[in-house]
Structures are given as structure tokens and as C-alpha cells.
Symmetry: C2
């Protein structure tokens, strides 16, 4: 059994903890088969991904799902990590989902809510925190509005556009990115995000990517998280000056993304802005992804 | 010149200070013509509407617009109030818009931003506060997302459905309804409203009124305003038990509205719940309105 799970952009501007976009690449590939003992092999980003099956997010998610249904399964799993860990592109979410989905296929489980629950539990066990806004779009594909994880209430928008994703070679601790957020926010800022997010959904439904891009502002998370990313304004301005409609942070960062015409040029300008700030960076022009795919090997 | 402006439902569930829905009825009709002196005549709800042209919201809005463009105009105006003042259905917003629009027609002004500005200034002068979320949908018709009033940034959704509006014979001071709101709200509640509002827009775009109705919850305003409306839960439950998909407050109340099948029955149940709480009430099954209409008399 082979499962492919794609990278995601969580938050997507004004949709903190709600919006998610699935990307066609990068992605992880997980293979699983029943075996006589628990075994795990990791390819790609090995120095960052534990190969102990009791510490790896994918195998833990698989074990959790099996435990949920009372199944005793030993398996051999291989993971080809294509998504750079801790980059802000939902790497651990994709691996957790991949592990849970692989086990689901093995056991004939179809219940999405249960699969997502196992993935989130796996993520939580492996890294201390779970991110529904990565797991959900990686499963469903397209653009997702997650209203609730339990019960699972997801609204999926079928969108089709390109964007540029920029990956700086620096890490932001997701835990710190959470900690820097206040418990209370100005009502005025909540209203502004409701307006932005609602208008963004309207624009996406109309396929109006330029308007959607101009609605990528956020008043709930980024104003606080910017303190962890002193390069944010510089990179954002570089993108806007190169014709981006809008720019934001992917998940809790450090990856950033932009919509616009001439994505190659925008990516280059953002990469250079990172490098002016002393941080190496790569960029990637990607399309919206279709969600997790399973197949017999 | 004759201008018809319709009642509106502001906030519409999770869209506090952002969403607005135009109703096909009730409505105000304003007639204007140049005259030798300033004159105003009010028909309907006269005991609640000042007939002094320097105190009436419609004539003030008209005067403001004239002043904005440096025009000196004397006019005779008549207002047929169809919308009950202080009911929560945007009565003063509709009158202010009507006055501004009537003057705009007289002077050949087409700039919507300016017309809205005059209407808001008129409302503010007449009542101490202005409500863009009533004026905007009353002008544009359909369902509106107001991202910004200045510059005017409105997203309009072309929707078509029926709803029931219930008007209790009691008044809620808009000023008090504002005052009861906190300056800061839990980030968690902001996130919940972003999710609800975004999903609601998605459902409305799909024409899925049942889903839209189930997304009418609000965590930003109603939890605080409920203290001014101790009957809220009773009326809401009566509606839900009669098959409503969802119920909420129109603007800052006291009017309430519901979506659902069998709107007559739902309206009746809500009216009875009000009356059980000792408050007389009427209900009205209405459709989405098309926005302000101007014609030569």
C-alpha cells in the first residue's frame, strides 16, 4: 500500500486556525505492509526525522489508528520525506496523515473523522502539538475551511491556481509561534478578519485570484508573530514590489507564499530579500493540490 | 424624484459589523423636488420620526450630500416610513440612504462612496451613531460583505431565498447594545467567527440555505448582547423546535430572523415565544431585496 500526502499552506492570510490550501508539491510518500515486526525506514531529511517507529509521527499515527479499532498489527513502513520538516508547509501533518491513511487502507477503515483523529493524536504524541489546519487540507485537497475537527465539519472549495512558496533555511518553533499569541484580541481586529476571510472566500468561489490575493492580510496572528520573523516586512515588500497581489506566512512560518502574476520573478525577489537579511532561501512555484492519494504499490 | 429603500438585516449571524442582507420589505419611500424653501412631511410612524428637516435623518443626509459638493438646494421632501424605527431592521439607515440618494438624483451625483458617506453622516448627526452595515445592503441589495466604508470596498453576493423576520414591540437602544460589547474578545472566539462567517459565505455562494442557516451562530456580539434580550434563548429555541435551520438577531435587535422550511410556522412559534415573555410581536415572511430603486415620480 502506498500513500502520497501533500504539503499545505495553513492559515492562508486571514484564516488563522481555519483555512488551509493543499499544494501539488512537495509531498511525502509512505509505503506500508504487514510484517512480522515493527520496522521503519526514512528517506529524505533523515537527520531531522526519527527512524524509531515509536517516535516517528507517521508510524505513531498508524499505531494510534490500529489501537482505536482494537487491531493488533505489526507493519513495515517506509517514508520518503519530500516536505522539509519544520518549514511551515505542514510537514508533520502530512506525515501523520500518511501514516494514518496507510493503516486505514490496511485495515479497511474509511471514516475520515477517525483517520484525522489518529493523525492529530500522532502529531501530538510526536511533537507536542497537533495542527488540524494542515492535516485537513492535505486529506481533502483544494482549499478547506475547517469549522470543527470533532465532529469533523469541513467546507472544501475546489480552486485551481498557482502560487509561489519561499522556504528560508531557518526554523521557527511552532510552540513559540503559539506562545506569542495573546489570549484576547481587540474586537475590532476580529471584525477585520471576519471581513477579510469572508471576502476571500467570495473571491475564491468566483475564481478571482487577484482579489483573493489582495485579501491576504491578517490581524489575529501575524502582527504578533512578526516579532519572531523580523524579515517579514522586507520579504513582503519585495514581493509586492514585484507584482504580487498579496503575501503571507504559511502556517506558523517561516515559509512565506505569494499570489500574483509572474510568480518566478516574485519568488526570486522574495529569495533575495531573505538573503539580504542573511538567510538562505529557495522558492518553488506550485499549483493547488488534489489531496491524499492511495494506491496499491 | 422618488426613491425606495428597503429594510436590512445587519450582522446576519457571524458577520458582526460586516454582513448585511437587504429585504424586499418593509421599505421607505422618499419623494423630493426642488422648492422655494426646506419642507418635510412624514407619513407612517410619525410619532417616532421628527418632521423638523434639521432633525430628520433623511433630510439631514440630503443636506450633507448637497454641502459636500457645494450645492445650495432648497427642497420639499416627503417620507413614507414603512420600516418601524428602532426595530433592528435598519430603519434609520434606509431613511438616511433614501435622503442621500434623492439628493444625488436631484444633483446628478453617481459616486456611491459619496452617497454612502452622506447617509452615514446624516445618521450620525440625527442619532449619534452610523451603521454602514445597514446602509450598504440597502443600497446594493442582496447580501453584502462590507470590508471597508472609506474607501468603499463591498463584496456583493447575489442570493435568493426567503426568511422570517419577527418584530417585538419593545426597543433596544443601539447605544446600549454597543456599550455592552467588550473591547477585547478571546482569540478563540474570533477564530470561531472567522470559520462560521467563511463557511456561511461558501454556503450562500452555493445556494445552500439549509447549511447557511446552520451557520448563523455568533461568538463576538450576541453572547454579550443577550443580557439585554433575556427572551433570546426562548425565542431561538421556539424557532429551532419549529424546524428553523438557524436563528439570529437582526442588527442590534430586538428584531430576530430565522431561515428554514415552513417559515409561517416558525414565525408563529417565535411570535408566541415573545408573547410568553410578555412582549407583543409580529412576524413577516420576506424575500431578499434588490436594493434601492430610484424613479421619476
Amino acid at each position: 500500500m502506498k500513500v502520497l500526502t501533500q504539503a499545505t499552506v495553513a492559515n492562508f492570510g486571514p484564516g488563522f486556525d481555519v483555512f488551509g490550501l493543499c499544494l501539488n508539491e512537495p509531498f511525502d510518500v509512505i509505503r506500508i505492509r504487514e510484517g512480522s515486526r515493527l520496522r521503519l525506514k526514512v528517506h529524505g531529511f533523515r537527520y531531522k526525522v526519527p527512524e524509531d517507529p515509536l517516535k516517528n509521527v507517521a508510524s505513531i499515527a498508524a499505531l494510534r489508528l490500529a489501537r482505536m479499532v482494537g487491531a493488533e498489527v505489526k507493519f513495515e513502513m517506509s517514508i520518503h520525506k519530500g516536505i522539509r520538516p519544520k518549514s511551515g508547509l505542514g510537514s508533520s501533518g502530512a506525515s501523520a496523515l500518511g501514516g494514518a491513511l496507510a493503516m486505514a487502507k490496511l485495515l479497511g477503515i474509511e471514516d475520515r473523522q477517525r483517520i484525522i483523529k489518529a493523525a492529530l493524536e500522532g502529531e501530538k504524541a510526536a511533537s507536542g502539538s497537533a495542527h488540524g489546519d494542515n492535516v485537513v487540507p492535505s486529506l481533502f485537497g483544494g482549499f478547506t475551511i475547517t469549522k470543527s475537527l470533532s465532529p469533523l465539519e469541513v467546507f472544501r472549495l475546489d480552486v485551481d491556481f498557482r502560487l509561489v512558496v519561499v522556504l528560508p533555511e531557518i526554523e521557527i518553533s511552532t510552540k513559540r509561534a503559539r506562545k506569542v499569541l495573546p489570549e484576547y484580541v481587540p474586537l475590532k481586529d476580529a471584525v477585520r478578519n471576519v471581513a477579510l476571510a469572508s471576502a476571500l472566500i467570495s473571491a475564491l468561489k468566483d475564481g478571482d485570484i487577484e482579489t483573493a490575493g489582495r485579501l491576504l492580510d491578517d490581524h489575529l496572528a501575524i502582527p504578533y508573530r512578526k516579532s519572531l520573523m523580523p524579515w517579514f516586512d522586507r520579504v513582503r515588500n519585495a514581493a509586492l514590489e514585484s507584482g504580487a497581489y498579496g503575501v503571507s506566512i504559511s502556517g506558523s512560518g517561516p515559509a512565506m507564499f505569494a499570489l500574483g502574476e509572474g510568480l518566478e520573478g516574485i519568488g526570486k525577489a522574495m529569495k533575495e530579500a531573505f538573503e539580504d537579511a542573511g538567510i538562505k532561501a529557495d522558492y518553488l512555484v506550485v499549483k493547488v493540490g488534489g489531496g491524499a492519494k492511495c494506491s496499491d504499490v
